[in-house]
């Protein structure tokens, strides 16, 4: 029992650590900007209360700056008390993408690798935030079953994750860009937490987690961890010869099989507890009433002979691994923009810089740049809009009159006109206009100009205030889950009916 309590505590503290590190970074920014001591400047800043609350603790330290520099990052890669820790998956992936050995990166993976070699896949079951989320998915399934709604139960092969790891590394090697970094759930979750504290929206990432979770709840239990996770695959391989194992005392086992349905890794603890799939979470130990399952330390050298039959890897697999490693070294980087035929960086002659306050467009030979001040206009405050129209080839500025009108977009029906068509002459090489946006939302600023005798209309989509997109995405996700559920339920009903029919037929016959 206490093992599970400790495990939950560790998992919770990892979440807290990620949040705390993000807050420390936010605090470091305020400290560097020297606003932390100033009540007036701090007012209304993000995380104001927390920053003020930790301020006295940190200023008491001997060297606050080195403390702030030494504690940074997320589960993907972090610095804790000055020690750099990196997920081995990040190192392996970047190694295959760049084919360049950066020793500090490899050294920073040392602690996780040693821990995995000694303790097995404990990163998964004890640390990974994704594991916590997907365990929650398992609990949701239980809840569904309790409500007598039977979710589908499709199982995929556990070997898939090793194939995914290999394919992903090959993709990274060929595309010369990390691939897992963007989809690996622990990295994604810690990034979402980090972005949440810094006030950046990451709805796309939430969507990924939502899709995986929905799939696990309704279709395939613990799908990601058991059959897809490339990190789990890597940790599994690293921790294959772990001394810490869940061991069965055959004499004590009553054969109640209580441990099988509770296993988070989806294996049979009685026969497979020493296999590569076991992540030493210890749930089976908790559920084993006769206490036949226990953690046991076992030095691999002594038991190597005994284990050899069960653990021996066939020659084919070894050869495949060797071929893979060789091919990884032999693949040449195929930089992504070459594949897609995109131009090289800096080839583009127009402005590469696009801060939020600029909206570029082109028409005929002209480059048009809409600038607004303030960058994202506040509703009910006058905003200055300026069009800068310049000929791309001759580098001459457009000097004739243009007409401008502003519309408010609406999801249903006609767009409403905010500012009717007005003519503007250039002043200081720009066409200027003042406009007041009434509410938060999306607007269209329409520019009409005469180019080579033709009248060209360019619509610019502008955002005023902070229209909420997050809610709509969350609602869509929920709706998607409900629809998926209804479909699954309908299929089950149909199946049940068909079964009943065949039964009736049998009875009749």
């Amino acid at each position: 029992m206490w093992i599970q309590i400790i495990r939950r505590c560790v998992q919770a503290s990892v979440f807290l650590l990620v949040i705390a590190l993000a807050f420390l970074s936010l605090y470091a920014h305020y400290k560097a900007a020297r606003v932390i001591d100033d009540e007036q400047l701090m007012a209304g800043l993000r995380g104001e209360a927390t920053a003020k609350w930790i301020h006295p603790f940190i200023s008491q330290l001997d060297d606050p700056q080195s403390f702030l520099d030494g504690n940074k990052g997320t589960v993907w890669s972090m610095k804790l008390f000055g020690v750099s820790l990196t997920d081995p998956l990040a190192a392996v992936e970047t190694l295959s993408a760049s084919k360049f050995v950066h020793w500090p990166l490899l050294i920073s993976t040392l602690i996780p690798v040693v821990l995995t070699v000694l303790l097995g896949k404990v990163f998964c079951s004890w640390i990974c935030p994704g594991y916590v989320l997907f365990e929650l998915g398992g609990k949701l399934r239980k809840l569904l079953r309790f409500a007598e709604i039977q979710p589908a139960e499709i199982h995929f092969s556990k070997a898939n994750k090793y194939i995914f790891l290999v394919v992903g590394l090959l993709i990274a090697a060929i595309m010369a860009a990390p691939f897992f970094a963007l989809i690996y759930p622990p990295a994604v979750i810690s990034r979402i937490l980090h972005a949440w504290i810094f006030g950046i929206e990451l709805t796309g990432m939430l969507l990924l987690l939502g899709v995986i979770l929905a799939f696990e709840v309704f279709v395939s239990p613990r799908w990601w961890c058991q059959t897809m996770c490339p990190g789990g695959a890597l940790y599994g391989v690293l921790g294959q010869a772990r001394p810490l194992k869940v061991k069965l005392q055959k004499k004590a086992c009553t054969g109640c099989l209580d441990c099988i349905p509770v296993c988070e890794a989806g294996i049979n603890p009685i026969t497979q507890s020493t296999s590569i799939e076991c992540d030493n979470c210890g749930v089976c130990i908790q559920h084993c009433e006769p206490a036949a399952l226990k953690f046991a330390l076992e030095v691999p050298l002594i038991s190597a002979k005994k284990e050899k039959e069960t653990r021996s890897v066939s020659k084919k697999v070894k050869a495949a691994g060797l071929i893979f490693l060789l091919s990884l070294g032999a693949t040449s980087n195929l930089f992504a923009h070459h594949v897609l035929g995109l131009p090289h960086y800096s080839y583009k002659e127009n402005y590469p810089q696009r801060p939020t306050l600029e909206y570029p467009a082109t028409t005929g030979p002209y480059d048009v740049l809409l600038t607004s001040y303030p960058g994202i206009p506040n509703p009910n405050e006058p905003a200055n809009l300026a069009f800068y129209i310049k000929n791309r080839k001759t580098k001459e500025v457009f000097k004739e009159a243009v007409s401008i009108r502003v519309l408010q977009t609406s999801t249903f029906g006609e767009n409403t006109t905010i500012l009717p068509s007005t003519s503007a002459l250039p002043f200081d090489n720009q066409h200027k206009l003042q406009c007041t946006f009434p509410v938060d939302g999306e607007y269209i600023v329409e520019l009409t100009l005469v180019v080579e005798g033709r009248e060209e209309v360019i619509p610019f989509l502008m955002i005023a205030g902070q229209p909420t997109a997050t809610m709509s995405i969350i609602l869509t996700t929920l709706l998607g889950i409900v629809i998926l559920y209804v479909v699954v339920r309908a299929i089950q009903k149909k199946k049940a009916r068909r079964q009943q029919q065949s039964l009736q037929l049998e009875v009749l016959n």
């Binding site: 796309g204 801060p355 001040y373 500025v397």
Partner: protein, 201 residues
């Protein structure tokens, strides 16, 4: 494994992998992936994209909040890599900070940012974020006004940026490190001086 099961597994795996690839937007360019300004000490763009592990530790380390990760919402292959938008916040080359190295280069675990010491000579040699570029139709000093704000903001004033008559700025591309202080300080909308990525071989 029978044939049917094999095909089921292969199909499931194929769908999941392509789904993940689609989601990560591998190889797709983000709305502003051309001309991303990388932090000081960054490798060449292609090598940088291959080496960067998207941990965003440089973003956390930047004391001036000048580094902003490329949005992960647009699902592009560059998502999560650091980018600089000097108009919002420029690279101060850690001049008012403690420590011997530029903070972002010190924070980088993967070697995508090579260590740069906080010494003028080393900064001049190793930092190549971009090169300032002046639009002569917009710059006040070239259009019957007089300004000189960019010159006063330049950390290498007199070397990277010199002043001509009527406070007209002149960029020396050899010495400019691309910190973007000039772009940040420009009083014009749209800004008349901008940091552009250096052309690569």
């Amino acid at each position: 494994m029978d044939r049917r099961n094999f095909f089921k597994q292969a199909a499931a795996l194929g769908v999941s992998i392509s789904g993940c690839a689609l989601f990560s937007g591998l190889g797709r360019s983000s709305p502003d992936s051309d001309g991303l300004l990388r932090p000081p000490g960054a490798l060449d763009e292609n090598e940088f994209q291959a080496t960067c592990i998207r941990c965003m530790r440089c973003v956390d380390a930047c004391p001036n909040h000048a580094l902003i990760p490329v949005s992960l919402n647009h699902s592009s292959g560059t998502g999560g890599t650091p980018n600089m938008k000097p108009r919002s916040s420029a690279c101060m080359l850690c001049m008012s900070e403690e420590g011997d190295y530029l903070k972002c280069t010190e924070a980088c675990p993967s070697g995508a940012l090579q260590l740069v010491k906080k010494e003028t000579e080393e900064i001049k040699e190793k930092v190549h974020i971009g090169i300032a570029d002046i639009d002569f139709d917009l710059c006040y000093s070239y259009n019957n006004w007089s300004c000189g704000a960019c010159f006063r903001a330049c950390p290498l004033a007199g070397e990277a940026l010199t002043l001509g008559n009527w406070e007209r700025p002149i960029v020396n591309p050899e010495a400019c490190v691309g910190c973007g202080c000039c772009e940040r300080s420009c009083i014009r909308y749209p800004h008349a001086i901008r940091v552009k990525k250096e052309p690569q071989a």
